[in-house]
Every structure is written in C-alpha cells, then in structure tokens.
C-alpha cells in the first residue's frame, strides 16, 4: 500500500470573491508502515492538506491516491483532531466503538477490539467515564484509540498534542512513538513543532508559509525505538537545526506580515 499525494493545490474563494491560495503543488507519498510528519509555520495550510487527504475537503487540483488496495470501497482513513472531537454523550468505551458500529460489527467483536486499543493507550479502568471527566492527555488517548480501532489504512493526526501542556505533550510523544511501533500502520502527522516532528518521523515534509509549498523532505535516520535518550543526541539536534533553518525565515516573515 502506498498513498500518493499527487500535486495537490487548494485555493479558497470567499463570499466577496477574494482569493486565498492555501496550498501549491504538494507532491509526496506515504509508504506502508511509514511515519510521515508535515511541519510548517502556522497558517501554511497544513490542516487544509490533512482535511483533503482525509476526504473532508475537496482540493482545487490534484488528487490523493491509495495504491495497491482493493478498489471497491472508499479508502479507509481515521483522523485524530487537535481538539479531540470526542462525543461528549458517549463514555470512553462507546467513543472507541463508534466507528466499529458504523462498520456493522457484532457487539462482541466491537467490545474485544475496543478493549485491545483502550489497553494499548493505557486507559483501562476509565471505560465508563465521560470525556468531561478526563484530562486533556487522556482525552487525546481516547481519540487515538477510537481512530486505531477503525483499522485505517492511514492514520491522520492534526496537531494532536497542541492543546496539551508541555509536560503532557512530551510524554504523549513517547507514547505515540511506542503505539506506532506496536501497530505498524502508516501515519501522517501534522505539527508546527520541529522537535516533535524529528522525534516521531521517518520522514519530515517541510512546508513554506502560505501558500504552502514543499521546501524539502528530510529523511530522519535515527534508530528506533526512540525514547528520552534521543533528545540529547547530536544527530537529533542536527536534524532539528536543519529544519529550523528552513522554517525560521518563513516564520519571521509571517510574523512581520501579520495575518
């Protein structure tokens, strides 16, 4: 299986006919079991790109193609959103089975799959809590379990840890790295956080400020499993520095131009 992001461009036209170019000619691919991170300054169209790949937004030109799969159904993706997007009227367990209900699975199978992923994200004992009873980090774990339970071909994550405090965020990065190694799925991860991108990714796609264009695609050759020890290593810091080199000027121009 390979996901090809084939020359995607996106232009928004608002009610007054004013045109905003969000993405320009984005072209890269995501391999089987590959962890690809898209990093860029804020407002570079990262989320727009993710929504197009998830089938939640149409592109102006270009296509997203899933290769090497049975073509009789829509390609299966799942999204982890920045603001969790949990159903507040459903408990943890019922949130996780949501997609399984839509697939028409038997109740017993739903439960078995849900239990597996709830355990994977470390939420045993919280199955019957409502989202408002959970901390931010726990909410995002539920959201990850819900997405994985659906067994997507590609898991899309839209700045999933941006709403968390810095300490929780660091711990969740370790967790996510472990979960990816356990599931061996293709992940596409969107962030503005360079350290996070290098820590998690096999490859990092660096986007420019709006209109988002690809500045470079950096192969991250760091050993796995990755953990705490990594963030003091010289190679890791060099990758971070190199990507910061690309983004620094872009971000500064954004700051000076304003919104």
């Amino acid at each position: 299986m390979r996901v090809l992001i084939d020359h995607i461009s996106k232009v928004y036209t608002d009610r007054h006919g004013e045109v905003t170019e969000a993405l320009r000619d984005i072209h890269f691919d995501i391999g089987e079991n590959e962890f690809v991170v898209v990093v860029g300054p804020s407002g570079c169209g990262k989320s727009t790109l993710l929504n197009i790949i998830a089938g939640l937004l149409s592109s102006t030109s270009g296509q997203v193609i899933f290769e090497g799969i049975r073509t009789d159904s829509m390609p299966h993706t799942a999204v982890v959103f920045q603001d969790f997007a949990l159903f507040p009227w459903r408990t943890v367990l019922r949130n996780v089975v949501y997609g399984l209900e839509e697939l028409g699975l038997k109740k017993a199978d739903q439960l078995e799959i849900a239990k597996k992923y709830i355990t994977m994200v470390g939420l045993q004992g919280f199955e019957n809590k409502y989202p408002h009873q959970l901390s931010g980090g726990m909410k995002q774990r539920v959201s990850i379990a819900r997405a994985l339970a659906n067994d997507p071909l590609l898991l899309l994550m839209d700045e999933p840890f941006s709403a968390l405090d810095a300490q929780t965020r660091t711990l969740m990065q370790y967790e996510l790295s472990r979960i990816w190694e356990e599931t061996q799925k293709s992940f596409l991860y969107i962030t503005h956080h360079i350290q996070e991108a290098v820590f998690l990714g096999d490859r990092v796609v660096v986007l420019s400020k709006r209109p988002g264009r690809i500045l470079d695609i950096v192969q991250i050759d760091l050993p796995r499993p990755r953990g705490e020890h990594l963030i003091v290593e010289k190679r890791y810091l060099e990758y971070v520095d190199a990507i910061w080199g690309y983004i620094k000027n872009q971000a500064r121009e954004c700051l000076e131009e304003g919104p």
């Binding site: 999204v79 159903f87 989202p131 659906n150």
Partner: protein, 288 residues
C-alpha cells in the same frame, strides 16, 4: 544550603535599597483582602419561607377583618377548605384531567412535529428554503387569534383546543431545534464522517444527542405556552377544564373556586418544571 544563600542575598538587597513610601509613612505590613467578596450572594432560606408565610398571614388577616369584602378576596384558609371539598367531591379531578389530556396530547404532537421539522430545515437545504419563510410569516401571529378559525374548521370539540396548543408549542420547539442543529459542533460531524457515518447516521448519532439540551429548553418554554392556551381555549368554548372552572366560578361570583383554579395552574406549572429538570438530568448524564 540553598535556603541560606537566598536569605543572605535577600538581606543584603533590602539593606542597599532606598526607602519606599510605605516605609517612610511608618506602615510595616498590610494584609491582602479579597476584593471580590461582594460578588458572592449570601443565601437566605429563612427569609424566603418567612416572607411567604407573612404574606399569607397578612392576607388572612385582611380577609378576616373584612378590610376587603371576602367576595373579592377570600381568605387563604377559606380557599383551602373550598379546595378540599372540591377534592372530596371529585369535581377538581374532572377539570384537571380534561385540561391535562388536552395539554399533553397537544404538547406531545407539537414536540414531535417541532423536532422533526426543526431537524429537516436545519440540516437539509431544500426544506430550509421552503420552511423558513413559512415559519417566519406564521410565527408572529398570537396563536389565540387563530382559535376562532380553528373552531370554524375543526368544530367546537377537543380537536380545535388541541390544535391551538399544537400550534403554540410547535413554534418555540421548531425554532430551538433549528438553532440547535445549526450550532452542532462541526468538528463532531467531521469526526463522525471520518469514522464512516453517512447523513442519516449523523442525524441519529450526532445531531440528536447534540440538540437534546435545546429540545429541553423548547419543552420548558412550550409547557408554559400550553398552560396559557388551554385556559384561553377553555374560556372561549368548553364544558369542562380549568379555564372553564375559572370562568364559570367568576360568573357565579364563587371567588374561592376561582382561586382554587389559579392555585391548580400554579401547581401544574411547578410540577412540569420539576419533571423536565428531572428528565433532563436523567437523559443528559454527560452534563455536569
């Protein structure tokens, strides 16, 4: 060790500092007070009960001393004993049940209609285009003004009374549901779509639970309107019901009976409010 070092630095700092205005004025310390304490409302449970009792007692005294003729203002004790006789003879039940059955059938039909229509015009563009101007045009008409027309169409019996309640309750419900649908978190709909829901599944699994609080708000508004309309309709044409009871009691100068009717209406209002609050806390457990 750390503590000791920071302390010695602290003393050397204050030694070298010039005198502050406070020090010059000879003030050594000032304790910080909570400046928002006036925002916390005190509770006065005894005042609530006491004032209520006091008004009843005053009322009783005014009637007993005949400062106001009892025909215009009967004493609370007299009203109570009148109510008790009406309970014993079963007269009360006949009127209450007649009114309640009109309220409930009208209310339930209106709630169902309001929810269905509200979702349709909130979620689908064609029903919205058709429904919105019709609702905007008919909503401002006071529903009681339509009653004569309804009697002309449906006769003087139950149908016209139920119909006027349906009309009265339908509008607040449909407008609440429509607003609720429009305000459903679009992120939740995106999440549902990405997890494989189609449009009808989204209505059932995302829209309906999202708008439950708005449905309850509509029900609370609606039941007040239903009480108002049932009394009005029964005063126009009826042979039973609380409105009929009040109107005939007034015609016969039976002021006590009239007052009993008013008390029943007050109790019904309180009861429905309590009922909806209970239902809400049972059906919406995810709200703290």
């Amino acid at each position: 060790m750390f503590g000791g070092r920071s302390m010695s630095r602290g003393t050397s700092f204050s030694g070298g500092m010039p005198e502050t205005p406070f020090e010059r004025a000879g003030i050594e310390k000032a304790i910080v007070q909570d400046k928002t304490s006036f925002l916390r409302m005190k509770e006065h449970p005894w005042l609530s009960i006491g004032s209520f009792v006091l008004i009843l007692l005053l009322w009783e005294a005014v009637s007993r001393l005949e400062w106001v003729p009892p025909l215009f203002l009967p004493a609370p004790s007299g009203i109570l004993s009148e109510g008790w006789t009406m309970l014993k003879t079963g007269l009360i039940f006949k009127h209450v049940f007649t009114s309640l059955s009109r309220i409930l059938s009208g209310f339930l039909i209106a709630c169902l209609l309001g929810i269905v229509v509200g979702i349709l015009i909130g979620f689908f563009s064609i029903p919205e285009a058709i429904g919105n101007p019709i609702i905007a045009a008919t909503f401002p008409i006071p529903k009681i003004a339509i009653l004569p027309l309804l009697i002309l169409w449906l006769g003087i019996g139950e149908a016209s009374k139920v119909a006027v309640i349906v009309l009265g309750v339908f509008f607040p419900m449909v407008i609440n549901v429509y607003t609720g649908v429009k305000n459903v978190d679009p992120l939740l709909i995106k999440a549902a779509v990405s997890l494989g829901s189609n449009r009808t599944r989204i209505i059932k699994k995302v829209i309906l639970p999202s708008i439950l609080p708005m449905i309850f708000a509509g029900m609370k508004l609606g039941i007040g309107i239903a009480l108002l309309l049932v009394v009005a309709a029964e005063m126009v044409a009826a042979d039973a019901g609380i409105g009929f009871l009040i109107l005939t009691a007034a015609d016969l100068m039976e002021t006590k009976k009239l007052m009993v009717g008013l008390i029943i209406l007050s109790l019904l209002g309180i009861f429905f409010n309590w009922l909806f609050k209970r239902l809400e806390s049972i059906l919406i457990p995810w709200k703290q």
